[in-house]
């Protein structure tokens, strides 16, 4: 018996609303399969299941708002059947006849007034969807059901959605500045070699496969992080937990305002072409509101790239529980002194905001130096 629980899809998520089940009872679920679509305060997210089994029971209802950690469904492990579960005494209290496959589901939240009203009107509460706090069935839900109307909309209208997003960002950023002692270092990096290499490479590629400078910057960050594990991971329970993989959270601004930082998974290990495809896909799906749960929750560090419309440098606010954020400003042509000569070169200012509880400015500076060096050897990054 596997309990599938609503995962936290970011530090700013406390609850989510189930929009759609992608599986039904009896379906086989593979590891990584998208099983549900959940509305967080930021986006509709495809939630993946990381265990294999077949669906025994769907507990959450469409439209239901529930706190993170709520058991949404029960899966049967390979070899298990509903019957074998029933025969298992540790799950089922003895003497409970006609019970479902698992321990009794938690009592549904139905307000006293809703229960009384349902009784008076002869409304079947099992068929009423709750719209109250934590998905509780309210008087209004019963009144709607009694009148044969659709349940009150659980999904927030667009205007409220923007407000929700703002509140979610406010909560995460306020927590960050409250809890994380940030330090900041910055480095101006000449991009003349990197841009020349990209231009030469792009000339040979079809239009659809051309690489943007951003992808080279992201790859360089991911590769540099391999030698600076103290920047890649999480601060949890009073200590640093380094991440096993390098998943770059890429800050993507939304047209309606706000931003999301979904992850490019294993960015250090992927060739640039693949990374470019994934980045394009990620931006498209972020703006369309169809991200996967692993992309929402598995970023181990965030990178913000201001691009052509940005300012020269950015010093970002770390997204907890991550411990670092790398920022790139706009690429501009600037004066640069080298070997006693003054030149005008395309440059980018890279910055690092990092958690002083975990790393020190000296290491942060070395990381940026490494990043600058890597960008002078762009051909080595395409592996």
């Amino acid at each position: 018996m596997i309990e599938f629980k609503l995962p936290s899809l970011g530090a700013d998520m406390d609850e989510g609303t189930l929009l759609e089940w992608k599986v039904g009872v009896g379906d086989t679920v593979k590891k990584g399969q998208v099983v549900a679509v959940v509305d967080t305060s930021k986006a509709a997210v495809d939630v993946e299941c990381w265990q294999e089994g077949s669906v025994g029971e769907l507990l959450a209802e469409v439209g239901q708002k529930m706190p993170v950690g709520t058991v949404m469904a029960k899966l049967l492990e390979p070899g298990e059947t509903a019957e074998t579960i029933v025969g298992t005494p540790r799950v089922l209290p003895a003497g409970r006849a006609g019970a479902t496959a698992a321990a009794p589901p938690p009592r549904r939240m139905i307000s006293p007034a809703a229960r009384k009203h349902a009784q008076e009107k002869g409304v079947d509460l099992d068929k009423v969807t709750g719209s109250g706090p934590h998905g509780a069935v309210t008087l209004e839900d019963v009144e709607h059901a009694a009148a044969g109307l659709a349940p009150p909309a659980a999904v927030l209208p667009a205007a409220d959605k923007a407000g929700e997003m703002r509140r979610a960002i406010a909560a995460a950023m306020a927590r960050s500045k409250r809890e994380i002692p940030h330090y900041y270092v910055a480095e101006d990096i000449p991009l003349v070699k990197a841009l020349a290499w990209l231009q030469a490479g792009n000339a040979k590629r079809p239009m659809a496969e051309r690489l943007l400078p951003a992808v080279l910057l992201f790859k360089a960050v991911a590769v540099a992080l391999k030698r600076y594990p103290e920047l890649n991971g999480y601060w949890r329970d009073g200590g640093f937990v380094p991440a096993e993989r390098i998943n770059l959270g890429v800050a993507i601004s939304l047209r309606q305002g706000g931003l999301i930082a979904p992850a490019l998974l294993n960015a250090d290990a992927k060739p640039l072409t693949q990374l470019m495809q994934e980045l394009t896909d990620l931006v498209r799906r972020t703006r369309a509101g169809s991200l996967r749960s692993s992309e929402m929750s598995e970023a181990t560090i965030t990178v913000t790239n201001l691009g052509d419309q940005g300012s020269q440098a950015v010093f970002g606010v770390i997204y907890p529980p991550q411990v670092a954020l790398v920022g790139f400003g706009r690429v501009t042509e600037r004066p640069w002194a080298e070997n006693g000569e003054l030149k005008a070169l395309p440059m980018v200012t890279a910055s690092l905001s990092a958690d002083h509880r975990v790393s020190d400015g000296h290491r942060g500076a070395l990381f940026l130096r490494e990043l600058a060096d890597l960008l002078q050897r762009p051909e080595d990054l395409d592996r």
Binding site: S111, G132, P133, L139
Partner: protein, 324 residues
């Protein structure tokens, strides 16, 4: 006809009327005479009514509250002013063991027609020892009536029926209200037995009293801007509680936030919530929420004191938490 005056002026008028209208009434307490009252409620009274009826007392709450009880037993109608609820703890024995119990202990032979007035509440940076809200303690005691005038009308009108009550009445005046102004009808008559609806609404009932009433009304105004119609109930009488009005508000709105400057644990709000469970459980559409003072000694620093007390923003947030 109506006229506009402050809570302070209303209270002063009420005492003046009582002193002028009944020779048995006299005022006793710290600084009520020559100083004109710590909060200027009795300014000019000493000159007008003389030292027999406007009596400055030593700094001994135990002593002068006891003297007030004795005078009441002897047929007088004393108004005893205890400067604040914080100092009334020194007179608890007199109030709880004597004033509240004489009718019972004497088998109905004695009554104690005493009015004790005291200032309560925080919000003026007077630090922990001068910021208590302990009216809930008094509301626990059978044998006394506990009033919390929160409006100019009640400040003006509650004293007369309190003096007419044959048993002890304790009146709590929240320090944050003294400069509040309001309209007062010339023929102002109020009871000392019922709670009142101060604002009509249908989505949520905010039940409160005393210094939290203006905060609840401010919250209701904010909520109205977001199309949430909050009903505001002023308890007015903390003992005996008007359960019928509370239950009616629950039946109307189905959602309740109780706002009380007491601490939560064992506070008056807890009693209100319990009454709702007993009398209106099946009308509830959401768990009852409480906005009370944080369970800390009230801090001195302004921002911390504000953070420790119920505020309109906290009330608004609590209401929204009930609406899903």
């Amino acid at each position: 006809m109506t006229r506009r005056l402050s809570y302070r002026e209303a209270m002063r008028e009420a005492m003046h009327e009582a002193l002028a209208g009944d020779p048995r009434v006299f005022l006793m307490g710290e600084d009520v005479g020559r100083y004109g009252g710590t909060y200027a409620f009795s300014k000019g009274f000493l000159e007008e009514f003389g030292p027999e009826r406007i009596r400055d007392t030593p700094l001994s709450e135990l002593g002068f509250v006891g003297a007030g009880i004795g005078a009441a037993l002897g047929g007088m109608r004393p108004i005893v002013e205890v400067m604040t609820v914080n100092f009334s703890l020194l007179a608890l024995d007199q109030i709880v063991n004597s004033a509240a119990l004489f009718r019972h202990m004497s088998g109905g032979q004695f009554s104690v027609p005493l009015v004790i007035r005291m200032t309560t509440g925080a919000g003026r940076q007077l630090a922990a020892q001068h910021s208590h809200s302990l009216e809930g303690w008094y509301a626990h005691i059978p044998g006394i009536r506990v009033l919390a005038p929160a409006t100019v009308e009640d400040a003006r009108g509650m004293l007369a029926p309190a003096l007419a009550d044959p048993d002890p009445v304790v009146i709590f005046e929240h320090a944050g209200l003294f400069n509040v102004e309001g309209e007062l009808a010339d023929d102002c008559k109020v009871d000392i037995s019922s709670a009142k609806v101060r604002r009509e609404g249908r989505d949520v009932a905010i039940i409160t009293y005393g210094g939290s009433l203006p905060k609840a009304l401010a919250a209701a105004e904010t909520l109205a801007g977001e199309s949430i119609e909050a009903e505001v109930i002023d308890l007015r009488v903390l003992r005996p509680l008007d359960t019928a009005t509370i239950a009616a508000a629950v039946a109307k709105c189905h959602r309740v936030v109780v706002v009380d400057e007491n601490w939560k644990s064992g506070g008056l709000a807890a009693e209100v919530v319990a009454r709702i469970m007993e009398h209106a459980f099946f009308e509830l559409d959401a768990p009852v929420a409480r906005v009370c003072s944080e369970e800390v000694p009230i801090p001195y620093a302004r921002h911390l004191e504000e953070a420790a007390l119920p505020q309109p923003e906290k009330i608004v947030a609590a209401v929204k938490g009930l609406l899903g």
